[in-house]
Symmetry: C2
Subunit: 339 residues, 2 copies
């Protein structure tokens, strides 16, 4: 209202003076409106809107103890495929937390130390909770945070520790691959090959199990049809050539990267994916969308929503004994697997 509005930001006290009430009343108008008489509330809110007042986050955090920030360690991707996935997940995370008044704080840590960064943020009370996204086999973050009593939710299940009692959300990779396998079986393929990662990858073996299960259920042979290779288009190309020599007519892959390698192998032999052969990848990457590759799509948006919901439970009711949640991916059918 006055010209003092420029330069000096409005504070609770200045709003109170303008509205002719006390600081606490203004605070209540914001945090507990039901405590005020309607006319008082209206007057106070009017002044707030007028001068454009927004509570100072630092002061609020200092007094109330909560920062309304969610920490997420954002490391450079280790695998090629991780990029785009994280992107979709992160977008939804930011969108969803908006509704709860939280923001996402990204931090980095020393490359070799998976725990680096968490400690500082925790001790400086900079964040209310963490979201873990890199809980692969053997990562110590979850146990470490839990031991410390820090609130967090993990994207990825605790493979190593079935006793873990923290909240987590994960995607059922096996179910996704099972869908893909069904799809190819339904199209008449009987020699369906699996191209996956090394057996040391828990996620990779989970995905492979979906193929194995469906092949077994359909009474189809799997011996010699599974290849465990590195996540690399060229390795997949070579493996595909070999599988084709062995009579394979369709492929389910643990990643789009591999599927694109298969696509090359098919092209080199003058075969066409979708007519002569069937091919399904995993992750529904941008490349898959462009080249018309069928792919298993993880419900990352839904994962993010569930992560936020779990976070909300933890922060609001400390007793919330929410634990694991497994979501099912969907199969996106494109040219590479449909005639």
């Amino acid at each position: 209202m006055d010209d003092q509005s420029v330069g000096v930001p409005p504070t609770l006290a200045s709003v109170a003076e303008l509205a002719g009430v006390s600081r606490q009343t203004v605070s209540n108008a914001i945090n507990n409106p039901e405590l005020l008489r309607p006319d008082t509330l209206e007057r106070v809110l009017g002044v707030i809107a007028n001068v454009g007042y927004t509570p100072n986050r630092a002061a609020r955090q200092l007094r109330s103890g909560s920062s309304h920030l969610i920490g997420l360690r954002f490391d450079p991707p280790q695998e090629h495929t991780a990029n785009a996935l994280m992107d979709r997940f992160l977008h939804t995370l930011v969108q969803t937390t908006r509704a709860t008044g939280h923001h996402i704080l990204l931090f980095a840590g020393a490359a070799g130390d998976p725990l680096d960064g968490y400690d500082d943020l925790l001790r400086s009370t900079a964040v209310d909770a963490f979201v873990l996204t890199d809980t692969y086999t053997g990562t110590p973050q979850a146990a470490w945070l839990q031991e410390r009593g820090a609130p967090f939710v993990a994207f990825g299940r605790p493979w190593d520790d079935p006793e873990a009692s923290h909240s987590w959300v994960d995607v059922d990779g096996g179910a996704g691959v099972a869908q893909a396998t069904d799809h190819l079986i339904g199209a008449g393929h009987t020699a369906i090959s699996w191209l996956g990662w090394e057996a040391s990858s828990r996620i990779g073996e989970d995905r492979r199990s979906g193929w194995q299960r469906r092949m077994d259920e359909a009474g189809l042979p799997t011996h010699g049809l599974a290849e465990r290779i590195t996540d690399n288009a060229d390795a997949a190309r070579l493996a595909a050539h070999q599988q084709i020599d062995n009579g394979a007519s369709a492929f389910v892959c643990a990643s789009d990267t591999m599927a694109l390698g298969v696509l090359q192998a098919l092209a080199e032999r003058g075969l066409s994916a979708g007519t002569d052969t069937g091919l399904v990848g995993f992750d529904d990457s941008a490349a898959a969308q462009i080249v018309g590759l069928s792919s298993v799509r993880q419900p990352l948006e839904q994962v993010a929503v569930e992560v936020v919901a779990a976070l909300h439970d933890i922060l609001d009711e400390p007793s919330g004994d929410r634990t694991g949640l497994v979501l099912t991916p969907t199969l996106v059918v494109r040219r590479s697997s449909s005639a």
Copy 2:
């Protein structure tokens, strides 16, 4: 040291008591170590390390006025290509700000309102500065923030307003395309086609200018060789067929998406990129790496570093009259353009 270390986090006062000094001395040990006598400093730092003290961010922010947070609006990508780019940029941003003690705060805004979200963070003094990444044609963020006196650095130059005096960093798309064109000319191609976006795209026209310039300098014709289409593989595929009919033997594209469309067109004709024809995309996407597509790579890591440097200048010396900086991309040569 004591068993009180569990539960109650150490504070400046508790550290001071343990070290036998005053609060301020502990504060100085952290922020102005040169003010302390060496032995006192050592003793205080010892206690700090012992009890695992980290200054409370809220209190520090409240008193000093700076949050050590950099705000970045993280909207769902409008264009397909934007994803991976943002990812690389963001990773380096997080890494680089780590050294300066800053963190990245991601926030979302209402879809229709490009200004939404900035205001609240500014008024609540939640962030020290912003990084803008969506400064396309006609976006009002930069002008709005500047008017408000808010510190920020933009990734992307102010095409519309050459008078703008804020700091920005951008990539010279024209120079990148010029490199690609040179490369194809050097390989013996004379009929090099340009596949780009609609003329309304400032960035698109900037890139196209690099092709135009080099073709002119080499005395090669460009008439009828430029196509302006939507950023879409299928549109590019169709355009490529037409250009091939017209005698084009090489393509420079404004995006990898388009280049992949061209790749399909070539395959459909039994032509091989790299031997019969030359093809270069833009952005060095994951797909380009997988299929062996030559592409212009933006120096996003370097952009992020420069953005942080500019930010540092602004925050530390308010007079710093740093303005624009244009970085040059590099050409990554792969099979699609080399025999």
